[in-house]
Amino acid sequence: MSIRTLNPNAEVLNKSGALHMNINAAKGLQDVLKSNLGPVGTNKMLVSGTGDIKLTKDGNTLLKEMQIQNPTAIMIARTAVAQDDISGDGTTSTVIFIGELMKQSERYIDEGMHPRVLVDGFEIAKRATLQFLEKFKTPVVMGEEPDKEILEMVARTTLRTKLYEALADQLTKIVVNAVLCVRKPEEPIDLFMVEIMHMRHKFDVDTRLVEGLVLDHGSRHPDMKRRAENCYILTCNVSLEYEKSEINAGFYYSNAEQREAMVAAERRSVDDRVRKIIELKNKVCAGSDKNFVVINQKGIDPPSLDLLARAGIVALRRAKRRNMERLVLACGGEAVNSVDDLTPDSLGWAGLVHEHVLGEEKYTFIEEVKHPHSCTILIKGPNDHIIAQIKDAVRDGLRSVKNTIEDEAVVLGAGAFEVAARQHLINEVKKSVKGRAQLGIQAFADALLVVPKTLADNSGLDTQDVIISLTGEHDNGNVVGLNQHSGEPIDPQMEGIFDNYAVKRQILNSGPVIASQLLLVDEVIRAGRNMRKLT
């Protein structure tokens, strides 16, 4: 081998070695993740050497936690994580689909077939399946008022694979309402406008949707109100702290007035800004019991806080940048960058602003807003790993609702699509193709069945029985999925099990591409390392 003459240390794997390395890596990764799939999969609890606990059933989280080193496995993992980035779910499905494509191919390759032929078949099968998906999907009309029921079904399907049923059902309503809250007609949905906040407090079932915002900080002055009703909200990005260095810092005073005078002299410009805010407060609140809350992205130093507190204003400093946007959407008004153009029109409104203290953590709730276009999902749980798990689930739930609204379509779940697509490939597509590419289509079609198979496997059912009864029903023209408890075929439409169209399409697009690339590798060269020892 010529590479040896160039670099005697180079490690070379020949054709079958390279192929088997890839296939084994793909199968290995599939083995790790497959028990996650579906509503009866196993939850994984990862306990680190220091006793830290991570709890997850999400393929995406799990892949990131694993310190994967094998180059093939990394390629697959990257694809799967990209899947999550693009469509918000389907990480586990991508990994097991790629693994299954490799496993099916292995059979044919061991019988002497050239990978190129299989790859050609994959390509045909992929295109045909995507076309079939277009026909198979269930269109959903998203008018002015989207069909809440279907959105809830999609969200429930996703959430039930991550959390136990009662909690999943509770969260379903929350995520659907959250997405509908931030949705604006004719605009893409910006899920960042849903704030996800957590409190280590009470129980998971206390998780709720706050129409308005929850900030993870409070006012920094003892005299400011902890609870205020009927509030004007000023959202601003104005520095209210003295910024020049105090080169000649020491100054003396003998009484309060004198001190006042000196502070004022040193900090005139800051005070002017504060005063303008107070003027506006006096203007809008005069003679009423209304309150005034300032939420600033920049800092507010103690003297400014003092002035504001004395004027009866509640002020919060260093708000998140994103909350500036969210506040305006939730309360109305506009974010102000300078105090020169303060008008009552720039103020927002909230019926109730109150603070909640947990140890050293403070939370400020801004609630009872008028027409919220931003909201907060407040996750509660007794410990960090439960919170983290709910958070992951909520993110996936939100994405699934958003996808549905944007796709204007859903796909029947519980394995129904996979079985239907498989039957379509075998019965129609395969016959229309001549030659050995048929085998590639066959492999692809069989690989699709990995989803129902794994679902059955995770429920402790007999895989063969399940596949036979499902394909039988499909051949009779009934589109059915798998009931994970009984093993009987069910109608996913009746049960309300729907998957995202975007997720399915993405899996079908990316899975075969990576599998084909891996199959076509016929030599692996690497200098100075032993690949066989990896993993």
């Binding site: 990862l46 136990y164 998971d204 260093r318 410990n383």
Partner: protein, 575 residues
């Protein structure tokens, strides 16, 4: 109050930081200890500058560093990423409340605590058990693990920086980067690091933690940022600094770009050498453009350098070398924390207080606007009596910044020096005025004087905490004094059991002596990155730098050189 926030990004930065916080913890302990020397009582330092006061959910008060540390996942050894104070009962047996189906548990083998941590842990438990007042008894019951055993065990196997940390950290402080899917050796360039942090949610999460600490501050004076710039962490740091520049434009950043003595040892072929040279240039140029003052720290062979003439250490142990740098960085940070007393800011315990902004203004804000400074130090500092000090003080200050020129005559130099705990006649602590006078005489006698120099003095020496490595040679005395002859019956390396404190001198210097450092980086980016058909441009493209960006880096570097040395011709449009 003028708060400082500390960042430690990368493994070596965390090694240094761990020592740094041990010093602070030791000072705090000595301040409360009734039997400690009076200088510690009157140390005149405001610890609230670096620490925050908090409270756990159970209502227990806490005092923890205002710190954000970023490292690889798994680099925390036996410490939990949530720190030690805010521990809730994270028992596995509590079950999985969020799932009714099966649960499979993957438990890693628990990390064994070394003797030092074991003892800390036991002591902590005893204090809780015996209540607050009566911990004398518990101290005596802990004789099973001896100091000597602890020191020996640390000498032999420190693997993680947490192995010798005696500080409690806040749960928001320790951040682990995950999902890298590569081993540490491959995380070796600017591009990878920047992508890791800027893509996905990890960067956001770190920025959120910074916001958590800044929101608490009434008047933040600045950020001291240590980054291990030998690998991908410099890219990660650049990404974090970009956010700081954006969000907190008025908060000055003092950046220490640190690297361990053996950072460059494993370069085997030419390609790796080029890659590492380019990385250095790119990383330095980018980082320097995102901070107000940058101090490169880390000699390629510290143990052989003049900086460690009284020390005896192993380059291959980060535990050793990081202690040296941490000592110097501790000294530099003192003026930012001294309490200002009276109009002149002088007292019998310290003088020369300044805040970070003033310090940066002084070094980088004047005439030449040079933001690259050299860190010099004398560990330990010589005694100030007699002519010895006055002649040798400046001579004994050795650079910890790599690639600097010696014996440069720079009339425009600006220096800021801190002397603390210096000894006077008869090895007693020298008074503030004695030290000031001695330093002034030293400057007067020097052949070239800097254009401007600032001096801060404190009487409080550097206390040597128990987990400090044994790196002193046998010519250093119990209180850090220089001995004229080596102690014969002592081990070759002396550590915390033999030496209790040392006097220190450290200095930040803006001088043309740093030119070789800059020129090397400019040379490399020109040779490998900019020349037509050069090997590096592909590499740089992979890191996300197009042709224009590389040119910008070159220009940035040549501008820095021009600022220091206007005579030299470094025009960048040579082609």
């Amino acid at each position: 109050m003028r708060e400082l926030i500390t960042f430690q990004v990368g493994s070596y930065a965390n090694f240094i930081g761990s020592h740094f916080w041990n010093f602070q913890d030791e000072l705090l302990g000595l301040f409360e200890d009734t039997q400690a020397d009076l200088v510690y009582k009157n140390q005149n330092l405001d610890m609230d500058v670096l620490y925050r006061t908090g409270e756990t959910q159970q209502g227990m008060p806490t005092y923890t560093p205002r710190l954000i540390s970023v490292d690889f996942q798994g680099c925390l050894g036996s410490m939990s990423s949530r720190g030690t104070l805010y521990n809730q009962n994270q028992s596995v047996s509590s079950g999985v409340a969020t799932w009714t189906g099966g649960v499979s548990t993957q438990a890693a083998e628990p990390h064994k605590k070394n003797l030092f941590l074991q003892r800390l842990y036991d002591e902590g438990r005893d204090i809780v058990a015996t209540g607050n007042g009566v911990n004398k008894v518990s101290g005596e019951s802990q004789t099973e693990i001896l100091d000597t055993d602890v020191v020996k065990s640390l000498e032999d196997d420190v693997q993680y920086w947490t192995d010798y940390a005696k500080v409690h950290y806040h749960p928001q402080s320790l951040f682990e980067l995950n999902g890298l899917w590569m081993n540490a050796q491959e995380f070796n360039n600017f591009g990878i690091g920047r992508d890791t942090v800027s893509e996905g949610l990890q960067g956001d999460e770190i920025n959120e933690r910074l916001r958590f600490f800044i929101e608490e501050c009434d008047h933040v004076q600045g950020i001291q940022f240590m980054v291990d710039d030998s690998g991908g962490f410099s890219g990660a740091a650049a990404s974090l600094l970009e956010n700081i520049v954006d969000e907190y434009s008025n908060v000055p950043v003092l950046l220490y770009s640190v690297r361990s003595p053996n950072a460059q040892n494993n370069l085997t072929n030419r390609k790796q050498v080029i890659s590492s040279n380019l990385h250095d240039a790119v990383s330095f140029s980018t980082l320097s453009s995102l901070c107000k003052l940058i101090v490169p720290v880390g000699l390629p062979s510290l143990s052989q350098s003049r900086a460690s003439q009284l020390l005896n250490l192993h380059d291959e142990k980060p535990y050793h070398s990081s202690a040296v740098y941490a000592s110097a960085i501790h000294s530099i940070s003192l003026p930012f924390r001294m309490k200002r007393i009276g109009a002149t800011g002088e007292s019998s315990n310290g003088c020369g207080a300044m805040n970070l902004y003033e310090g940066i203004q002084m070094l980088a804000g004047q005439a030449r606007q040079n933001i690259v400074t050299i860190l010099d130090s004398a560990i330990p500092a010589p005694s100030i009596t007699g002519r010895q000090f006055q002649q040798s003080l400046l001579g004994n200050l050795q650079s910890l910044t790599p690639e600097t020129a010696h014996d440069v005559e720079d009339l425009q130099a600006i220096e800021s020096m801190i002397v603390h705990g210096a000894h006077g006649a008869g090895d007693h602590e020298a008074s503030i005025s004695e030290v000031k006078e001695a330093v002034e005489t030293a400057y007067e006698n020097a052949s070239t004087r800097p254009r401007f120099s600032h001096i801060s003095v404190s009487r409080c020496p550097l206390p040597i905490p128990l987990p400090f490595p044994s790196i002193f040679g046998n010519r250093v005395g119990r209180r850090g004094e220089w001995l004229s002859s080596p102690i014969l019956d002592s081990p070759e390396r002396r550590g915390s059991l033999d030496i209790h404190s040392i006097p220190m001198v450290a200095r930040l210097r803006s001088s043309t002596a740093v030119l070789p450092f800059l020129e090397n980086r400019l040379g490399n980016i020109r040779k490998f990155g900019l020349e037509r058909g050069s090997i590096g441009s592909n590499l740089l493209r992979g890191w996300g730098f197009g042709r224009e960006e590389i040119e910008e880096i070159g220009e940035n570097l040549s501008k820095m050189i021009l600022a220091l040395d206007p005579q030299q011709e470094y025009s960048s449009d040579s082609d």
